[in-house]
Amino acid sequence: GSAAAQAKIQIGCTATSDCASAMVAVDEGIFKKHGLDVEMTPIAINSNIPAAILSNSIQIGGPTSTVFLQAVDGGLDLVGIAGASVMNTTSNNAITAFVRNGITINEPKDFVGKKVGAPGLNAFLHVLFVKWLVEKGVDPKSVKFVEVTFPTMADIIKSGSVDAVLTAEPFVTRMTNAGLGSVGARYAVELARTDPIIFYAASREWAEKNAATVTKFRDAIAEAAVIVNSDREKASASIAKFTKQPLDLVKATPPNQSEPRLKPENLSWWIEVMLSQKMLQSKLDTSKLVLN
């Protein structure tokens, strides 16, 4: 209804470039233009987003595909309402397994017996890497995974506590420049997927009650996505503003590609991968995952 449309909408995202479309839409007044009053809330850990949505602390959030699917699998009634970012050549290029000095990785088998730090177990990069290992015929159980958050990666690689970290730009460049090691594998490039990384989700109840708002939101995001993908200056400025990262640092890395459309079938690859990694307990029905 119109009353709900005037209420302020809180959008919760982590400090990455994935939600750049929403950031730009706020900064450029696109939401306002569509009659939406939007505020962005920074959320530290992506897996908190579903709970934040459910408690109505935020109405729309940007969970990763894995977080979203696990939440739905766990019984949370969430739906995707618009796309945010998808993998593409650029983003896949930015994802690497970075190995410390003294370790050489020539082929996937070389990861056997190594200690690998992932920014979140069962999270996006980890799932991708395991998928890659499986495709290359390496038993993921033969690799020891530990959790290492992005900001501590450089220190941990330097201390030698782990042999490799699953990471992304700008950390790859920073660690390479600091002489801490080298890129061991570009597994995302080899997988060459174009599935969604993060998309906008809401609770089904809220989305159905505020159908008109959702439509306006989609329109605004679609408009902003164009800017993200075409105008790096503007996109970087908005990202830096939201994440409080230094502008130079943000500019150094191209933002992930924005893709405002989200179709149910976009999620089927993730479901399959996660099922094979025993991360889901039930076979999810894709048609119910996305609001049409």
Binding site: A44, S57, D155
Partner: protein, 254 residues
């Protein structure tokens, strides 16, 4: 400033100097460490642009509210358990099984039930503050000179009178230690909740600074939190001296 007042500063100053030298000389590059001089600069900047003062207000609001509620509950239960060994024994299993549950493990549930904001943070700080208050005030009550409890029995003091006139004053020095401890815990838990989930206050500031790869700012927050805690404790000690005054000093001999 007299020499006596500068003495406490010697150790930290020496440590900071050593740290600065180490980082500068080793050309340490880290996303988690920064030389003290850079930290100081970041602190001054963040104080000036009011981000730290505002974050401090938010954190302290939640911490104090939780501390107040938690202390009252904990004190009440601690006294009850200290006085009545029956109650203490009956509740032992329940209390000892709930007490060690880390609130951080329950954060996702608290988030869903209460959402972001002060309410959730206050509830969790309360949960954390109840236990030290309970345990230490129970010990304090048990440690009261038994002859004093007998005096209160002989005078047929009502349970309320007994609590107000004998138990609390006798146990007060120890209860105050518990309260100081709880105050520290309240601050820590509030910040931890903010780091883990709640997007407000100093903890969120730390998290944001860390993710923004600003170790100087992150450490500036850390130093600031230390300063707040230090000030808080100092204030409580002043209150303690005010409260107990001559009775305490007369009792403690020289």
């Amino acid at each position: 400033m007299s020499l006596a007042r500068t003495k406490p500063l010697l150790l930290p100053l020496a440590a900071l100097l050593a740290f600065e030298l180490w980082i500068r000389l080793a050309h340490l590059q880290s996303d988690s460490l920064a030389p003290p001089s850079a930290v100081l600069a970041a602190l001054v900047a963040a104080l000036a642009d009011l981000t730290i003062p505002i974050a401090t207000r938010d954190t302290l609001l939640a911490a104090f509210a939780g501390l107040a509620i938690g202390s009252i509950i904990g004190l009440g239960l601690g006294i009850a358990f200290g006085v009545s060994s029956m109650l203490d024994r009956l509740m032992e299993v329940t209390v000892e099984a709930i007490r060690p549950i880390p609130s951080i493990a329950l954060l996702p549930i608290a988030l869903i039930a209460l959402g972001f904001g002060y309410r959730m943070e206050i509830v969790i700080v309360t949960f954390a503050c109840v236990w030290p208050m309970l345990i230490l005030s129970r010990t304090a009550v048990r440690g009261i000179e038994p002859r004093l409890m007998e005096v209160s029995r002989a005078l047929r003091l009502t349970p309320v009178q007994r609590t107000i006139k004998i138990i609390i004053p006798a146990a007060l020095p120890r209860i105050f230690v518990a309260f100081r401890l709880s105050a520290g815990i309240a601050l820590i838990v509030a910040v931890t909740v903010e780091i883990a989930i709640n997007p407000l206050g100093l903890g969120a500031g730390i998290m944001l600074a860390q993710q923004a790869l600003r170790p100087d700012l992150m450490l500036a927050y850390l130093v600031w939190i230390g300063a707040i805690g230090y000030g808080l404790n100092l204030a409580l000690i002043v209150v303690q001296h005010r409260l107990f005054g001559r009775a305490a000093t007369a009792g403690a001999g020289s």
